[in-house]
């Protein structure tokens, strides 16, 4: 694969990885359709898409973080904390419109906290967010006091499960979020700065880029997207349990990596993330439909990561210089 063009590409132009993921998705769909008579139904398609919403939103934020050479392993629990805020408002029969604002707001606030530790404190992102993961988990337990928020009113769901001009609201929200993130990444100075920082923070600083500001902002953006994910979570499940979001961070990282975003930063693919999430969900859904027990699902995820990235590594022996750079 040739060097990835970062610029000049339109919203819908695709690189090699994105094509292969798309082909993989279609191939999987084709195989499952043949293998199971119940696969290719509208109901099942809706199920797969519905199950992808939260991961898509968190994945978009994670794409930005990885592109910047950062990472956030606490992001799932951030979703949990935002969900608690939303749930509390709904539980107190608050307006669903207030609840709509609460998620992104709490997400942004926690993004600030994470950024304060990782960016201002100059702590490596992976370790810093690992520490915060513990702190946030305790916060979830302390806030819930061991009780779940359950049986929440469906007012938020009534708001989000509708259609606007025939398009379901979740699809609309994701499309808008994607477009905004894409524009920010490819059409504003912020995106250039983000990718330059991902390539080398030191060089970016020398180029006069406000490194601290950009990094801080990225954690906040990721927090906001996660807050939106929390809104969908609460709207659909109408329940906030203590284990909420415990697997989201690793799932999101897996999907983003599959999508072709470099974990060393400097290179990212938003479309790849979307296709990565869909491929994971399509496989999980399809394998269960053809009778593979759900316990095998993590194995599939792992094999997919090693398989896709390993295949790519073999097919274009990357230069060794990539070893000389430190991680997040």
């Amino acid at each position: 694969m040739s060097a990835v063009r970062q610029s000049g590409s339109g919203v819908f132009s695709m690189n090699g990885r994105e094509w292969s993921l798309l082909v993989a998705c279609l191939l999987a769909i084709a195989i499952f359709s043949v293998a199971s008579p119940h696969y290719a139904t509208q109901g099942n398609a809706v199920t797969v898409l519905r199950n992808s919403i939260e991961l898509l939103l968190i994945g978009l934020g994670m794409t930005l973080l990885l592109a910047m050479g950062g990472v956030d392993v606490s992001i799932g629990i951030v979703m949990g904390l935002a969900a608690i805020a939303i749930g509390r408002i709904l539980g107190a029969d608050g307006s669903p419109f207030v609840a709509l604002v609460a998620g992104p707001l709490v997400g942004a606030l926690l993004g600030c906290v994470t950024a304060a530790v990782v960016v201002l404190g100059r702590v490596p992102a992976i370790v810093g967010t690992l520490g915060l993961l513990g702190v946030y988990r305790t916060a979830v337990f302390a806030l819930l006091g061991g009780q779940w928020l359950s049986g929440l009113p469906s007012s938020l769901n009534d708001l989000l499960a509708t259609t606007v001009l025939g398009i379901p609201v979740p699809a609309l929200v994701i499309a808008v979020a994607y477009l905004i993130v894409w524009l920010a990444l490819r059409r504003t100075p912020y995106g250039l700065h983000l990718l330059a920082i991902g390539n080398s923070e030191e060089k970016a600083r020398l180029s006069g880029i406000p490194v601290i500001k950009v990094r801080f902002l990225t954690f906040v953006i990721s927090g906001v997207l996660t807050g939106i994910a929390a809104t969908f979570y609460v709207a659909t499940y109408r329940n906030v349990e203590t284990s909420i979001g415990s697997t989201s961070a690793l799932d999101a990282i897996a999907a983003v990596i599959l999508g072709g975003t470099s974990i060393l930063g400097g290179r990212c693919s938003l479309l790849g993330t979307v296709l990565g999430v869909l491929l994971l969900r399509i496989l999980q859904n399809g394998l269960l439909l053809i009778g593979v027990p759900s316990l095998w699902q993590p194995v599939v995820t792992g094999v997919l990561i090693i398989g896709v990235l390993g295949f790519e590594a073999v097919s274009n022996r990357l230069p060794l210089t990539r070893f000389q750079r430190a991680p997040a």
Binding site: V299, G310, L318, P327
Partner: protein, 319 residues
């Protein structure tokens, strides 16, 4: 403060850890003197053994740099214990159980090394993949059911206590740390690990077999995970397909808390050892005081952030 200011890196971390450890001990002593007996020491060491072994492997892998990390350790612990017990059922003589357990772990680790070296996958990605695979396979092949069949003589070893010290800790954890510490300090291999962790390009230029060292370290981390799996078998008396749950994060915490730089080349196994003991002592102390376990998670997380920030601050003071 002035002396603290002169400390840096591993020495600072070690000093901080010891200070924190003392605080925990003194706090406990003041609030609950009855805690202090040999039984508590035994308990602490008993629950340190598995984390110590896994943390050692994790620490060595990170130390060697090259963005090294082993996220698959927890899965390797579970899977090696399960595979060892399953092969017993397939007719393996029980005498070989320990060897099979450690060997399986080593092979799982070697697979990581192969992915990192041979395929040039980033360690984070390669071991994230094997994390999903190892822990998933352990659960899927057993359907989640615990596996019985641990021979009785292994339990004698696993549950034995000599002079208040659990036998597995005495015969496995301590020798492993001693050997690793000695190897890092006194052998060419140890110097190589630091050299490649500090600057891999120059390490390659001076002819250090970076790839071979890295491969062996991943295999070693796997073997230590296998040893941890063995300890779990010998102690619990059964093979649990999720015994290694959360160990990837806990061992990473121990290594970071122990002063090993995430970028490699800085830190030592002594710090990891101290960090493991601190973590378990802290847990024990909080449990003895009947403080809700939810606080442990947060306190350990806050501690990690605190130590990292302290390390950063000390660097700023010096510059």
């Amino acid at each position: 403060m002035r002396t603290l200011r002169n400390l840096q890196g591993p020495a600072l971390t070690l000093a901080l850890l010891c200070a924190l450890w003392l605080i925990v001990i003194v706090g406990l002593l003041a609030l609950k003197p009855s805690v202090f007996n040999l039984g508590t020491v035994t308990t602490i060491l008993q629950f340190s053994t598995i984390l110590a072994l896994v943390g050692l492997g994790q620490g060595m892998v990170i130390l060697a740099g090259g963005t090294g990390i082993d996220l698959s350790v927890g899965g390797a612990v579970s899977l090696s214990a399960i595979i060892a017990l399953l092969s017993l059922k397939l007719g393996l003589p029980p005498v070989l159980l320990p060897a099979v357990c450690i060997l399986t772990g080593a092979m799982l680790g070697a697979l990581n090394g192969l992915l990192v070296n041979g395929l040039a996958l980033l360690p984070f990605i390669a071991t994230l993949g094997t994390f999903f695979v190892y822990s998933g396979v352990a659960l899927a092949v057993t359907g989640g059911a615990a596996q019985s069949g641990v021979p009785g003589w292994l339990l004698v070893w696993g549950r034995g206590v000599v002079a208040g010290i659990p036998v597995p800790f005495l015969t496995l954890a301590i020798p492993c740390f001693a050997l690793a510490g000695l190897a890092l300090m006194a052998t060419a291999w140890g110097r190589w690990i630091y050299a490649m962790g500090f600057n891999e390009r120059s390490a390659r230029l001076v002819g250090i077999p970076v790839d071979r060292v890295r491969f062996i370290l991943y295999a070693l981390s796997g073997a230590l995970a296998g040893a941890a799996g063995l300890v779990s078998l010998a102690w619990l008396g059964s093979g649990r397909p999720n015994i290694g749950q959360n160990l990837e994060l806990e061992s990473l915490t121990a290594a970071m808390l122990g002063g090993i730089a995430i970028t490699g080349g800085r830190g030592g196994v002594g710090g990891v050892f101290a960090a493991v003991l601190l973590l378990v002592t802290l847990k024990t102390g909080l449990l003895q005081l009947n403080i809700n376990t939810v606080w442990q998670v947060g306190i350990v997380g806050a501690l990690l952030v605190f130590v990292l920030l302290a390390d950063r601050l000390s660097q700023r003071w010096r510059s």
